[in-house]
Amino acid sequence: MTLAEMVISVDNLTKKYGDHTVVDGVSLEVCRGEVFAFLGPNGAGKSTTIEILECLRPLTHGSARVLGYDVEDAHSVPRIKERIGVLPQDFSALDRLTVRENLELFAKMYTKSTSIDELLSLLELSEKSKARFGDLSGGLKQRVGVAAALVNDPDLVFLDEPTTGLDPDIRRTTWNMLSSFARSGKTVFLTTHYMEEAQALAKRVGVIVKGKIVALGTPAELMEKFGGKKEMIFKGGGDGAFAALKTEFKDLSLDGSNVILPFSCTAEIQEALSVLSKWGISCEMEEKTPNMEDVFLRLTGFTIKAGGEAA
């Protein structure tokens, strides 16, 4: 990665409040056109890191450069802010202004802005353009937030939990929009606690727990390294299938009436089928490939609930 391609460069970033370390020695690089996802539960340090990169919080130790500028350099801060888009968690705007008026307000903050009509159309907000922000549902407010983040046609957009509160259809629309945004050479840095979001959107994922990055790589790399083996589920096989397969396979488990067999190659499945056939057992099969949830569970020992809390 050349310096020109590097949009974010973070080295040993640390943020402390007194003795409490919120971000602990985070180092990462994000290059142009990349969608980078910061994945972690609530309180992991995602938002603090993103706010440091947005020049909204000072760092304690280390360094961070955004679009080639030092986030701690007062002269660079306006230059960074001019070229970034920001969607904070729980986006809010002026309640008694309409959607359009709020977007016009944000547009006026920048020297460069994109067409408000295009943005409204892109986020399916055209019909709500004259509605007051305070009268909108949570999902619609979040969409206005995404529009506000794109209003200055940014080179880099920070999205803190961008699809929280959105219904599945709009979530997918937002994902598509962000993907096309990245394809046009723009960079997206997002935080999420949705595994599927990280997997679907991100070129690379950083898993952050208690302020530390515990894994960093493409979703495929992380799943290969930390996701474990693929599993074949013999549905409804019960004790019979379990006893039969146990004669040949040691690493086997029973989940209710389903028998779960981890495997590395198809030859193992063929062997399992032949064993079951000998025992006169037939059952439905379902293959389960490792996903980001498995990666997260293996790395941290816990999963993330829908609200973002560790469980």
């Binding site: 409040y17 706010e51 947005e54 020049c55 909204l56 919080r57 000072p58 306006p78 802010k81 001019e82 970034i84 920001v86 904070p88 968690q89 729980d90 986006f91 809010s92 705007a93 002026l94 309640d95 008694r96 202004l97 008026e101 709020n102 016009e104 307000l105 944000f106 006026k108 903050m109 920048y110 020297t111 506000a148 200055n152």
Partner: protein, 239 residues
């Protein structure tokens, strides 16, 4: 300038679209003037109008402005705006200009009522305009100090009211200062509202230019001081 204009337009629209806010900042003082002017006569209405203007420009700056600003702070609107190239100074100037416009609307409303209903013709001149502008800036500055120090809208309103109510009484808004004991009259000389109301009265009603200019000098110095303090208290970056 575009950013200041953007903030000015947005916060002004936001304020004018609040029915409750508009009632208390413009219609309520109008009702007071009409009711008490009818009871005590046109001459009273003429001399009371500048005091009412002063008092309500103050409450708009000290109570309403910190209330809405802390509400923006609590809901993250301010943080979102601070993620744009908008500077702290531009944010403050946009708000101060908005407060000035609200002060002009209030003033025009009350002076028109005094003229049309009670036949009291005010003197509209550059000095009264400058006094009005400077007073609005001064109280917006105090409002920005309150908003900068507190996070909670309820606390901001509470503190604003705790400052503004005694100031209204001690500056002679509701009772003539001559009715008060000597030591309370001395206290009034330490209150910004006294100089603002005195300056408005001198420039709009009595035509006493030298009084208006000396009052203007006091509120001018206070306006600069409170604006600086307000700018210092407003946090544009989290800890």
């Amino acid at each position: 300038m575009s950013r200041i204009e953007g903030i000015f337009t947005a916060v002004t629209k936001n304020a004018l679209r609040s029915r409750v806010g508009l009632f208390f900042s413009a219609l309520f003082p109008l009702m007071l003037l009409l009711v008490f002017g009818s009871v005590f006569g046109g001459s009273f209405a003429g001399s009371w109008a500048p005091l009412l203007i002063g008092a309500f420009v103050m409450t708009n700056g000290i109570v309403a402005l910190p209330n809405i600003t802390t509400e923006f702070k609590r809901r993250g609107v301010l943080k979102r705006l601070s993620a744009t190239p908008l500077s702290k100074l531009e944010w403050i100037v946009g708000n101060v200009l908005s407060q000035t416009l609200l002060a002009v609307i209030l003033t025009v409303t009350l002076l028109l009522a005094a003229w049309i209903v009670f036949g009291v013709k005010p003197m509209i001149n550059p000095i009264s305009a400058v006094v009005l502008f400077t007073g609005a800036v001064m109280f917006s500055g105090i409002g920005m100090v309150i908003a900068g120090l507190l996070r909670d809208p309820e606390a901001a309103s509470g503190l604003g009211n705790a400052i503004s109510f005694p100031m209204m009484f001690l500056s002679g808004t509701y009772f003539p200062l001559s009715m008060m004991p000597g030591y309370l009259q001395s206290v009034s000389r330490f209150l910004p509202l006294f100089y603002f109301q005195d300056g408005l009265k001198a420039s709009m009603m009595t035509g006493d230019v030298s009084t208006a200019l000396s009052d203007l000098a006091v509120i001018g110095v206070l306006a600069i001081a409170f604006l600086l303090l307000g700018s210092f208290a407003t946090r544009w970056r989290s800890k």
